[in-house]
């Protein structure tokens, strides 16, 4: 298990800049139960399990590391009303995550930060939870 490195940036940027097809969204809805624009394998049920494991509540502050287009962080913010910081490198992905959060009516709960995982620009001891999905692979 290793983390994605800087050499992956161009690949990810290109991936997130592609227009998402309606058929691709349909596949996502059918299999994963959502249509965030995910390249991973985390279903809604698995996102719910993450929520339980993290003991999230409306008082929690959660960091979604390698959030991409905002999955599962936006779901966890919506379902628990916790505050969520979405962090990733591709700005385009974070813009789409912001739009998704607005569409779900949770933009007040969601912040986006463009940052590398190894040098997180946050104070020590400031998050109640960190979530990730297929980031460290």
């Amino acid at each position: 298990m290793i983390q994605h490195g800087p050499e992956d940036r161009d690949v990810f940027r290109e991936q997130y800049e592609r227009t998402r097809s309606e058929a691709g969204r349909q596949v996502e809805r059918l299999v994963l139960g959502h249509e965030v624009g995910l390249n991973g394998y985390t279903t809604v049920d698995q996102a719910q399990r993450l929520s339980e494991c993290l003991n999230l509540s409306p008082d929690s502050v959660l960091l979604d590391l390698g959030a991409g287009r905002g999955w599962p962080g936006t779901y966890l913010g919506w379902s628990t009303q916790c505050r969520v910081v979405l962090s990733d490198i591709p700005v385009e992905a974070l813009k789409q995550a912001r739009t998704y959060a607005e569409g779900r009516g949770i933009s007040r709960l969601v912040s986006c930060v463009c940052a590398e995982g190894m040098t997180l620009p946050f104070d020590h001891d400031c998050f109640d939870g960190v979530v990730h999905a297929d980031v460290f692979c």
Binding site: M1, I2, Q3, H4, G5, D8, R18, S21, E22, A23, G24, Q26, V27, L30, V31, L32, G40, Y41, T42, T43, Q46, R49, L50, C53, L54, N55, L63, L65, G117, M118, T119, L120, F122, D123, H124, D125, C126, F127, D128, G129, V130, V131, H132, A133, D134, V135, F136, C137
Partner: protein
């Protein structure tokens, strides 16, 4: 990256996530095959649990979800095949084939026992 996560978490805070990894104890050739079939970066040098422990986390949940991973891969491939003409029209032939090939290889890696997916939860004590 895990050390950075440890730093920003409050004491008692948790890190939880799903990770694709290789089983421990693969031979060099199996490891090479796993990296060909799975995410290109997947390596077998250390388990996700070991890496979390090395970053001073206390692992409290380790759950193998590989069977679910396999079923999800299969379902994605099936759905993409069912919608092939629509996907080719909207995404183009090259992207469609690239996606299918990548997911087919990943499924092969799971079936051959070279790729696993786990839910791991750890706490900052």
């Amino acid at each position: 990256m895990l050390r950075a996560c440890h730093d920003v978490l409050k004491p008692g805070g948790r890190i939880a996530g799903y990770t694709i990894h290789t089983p421990q104890g693969l031979s060099e050739s199996q490891g090479k095959r796993a990296s060909e079939l799975g995410p290109s970066e997947v390596l077998s040098e250390a388990s996700p649990v070991d890496l979390l422990r090395a970053a001073s986390f206390n692992v409290i949940v380790e759950q193998d979800v590989t069977e679910h991973f396999r079923a999800t891969c299969e379902a994605i491939l099936r759905a993409r095949s069912d919608l092939e003409s629509k996907l080719r029209n909207e995404e183009g032939d090259a992207l469609f084939e690239e996606e299918q090939e990548g997911r087919t290889l990943k499924l092969r890696g799971i079936t051959e026992g070279l790729l696993q997916r786990s839910l791991i939860v750890a706490i900052k004590t």
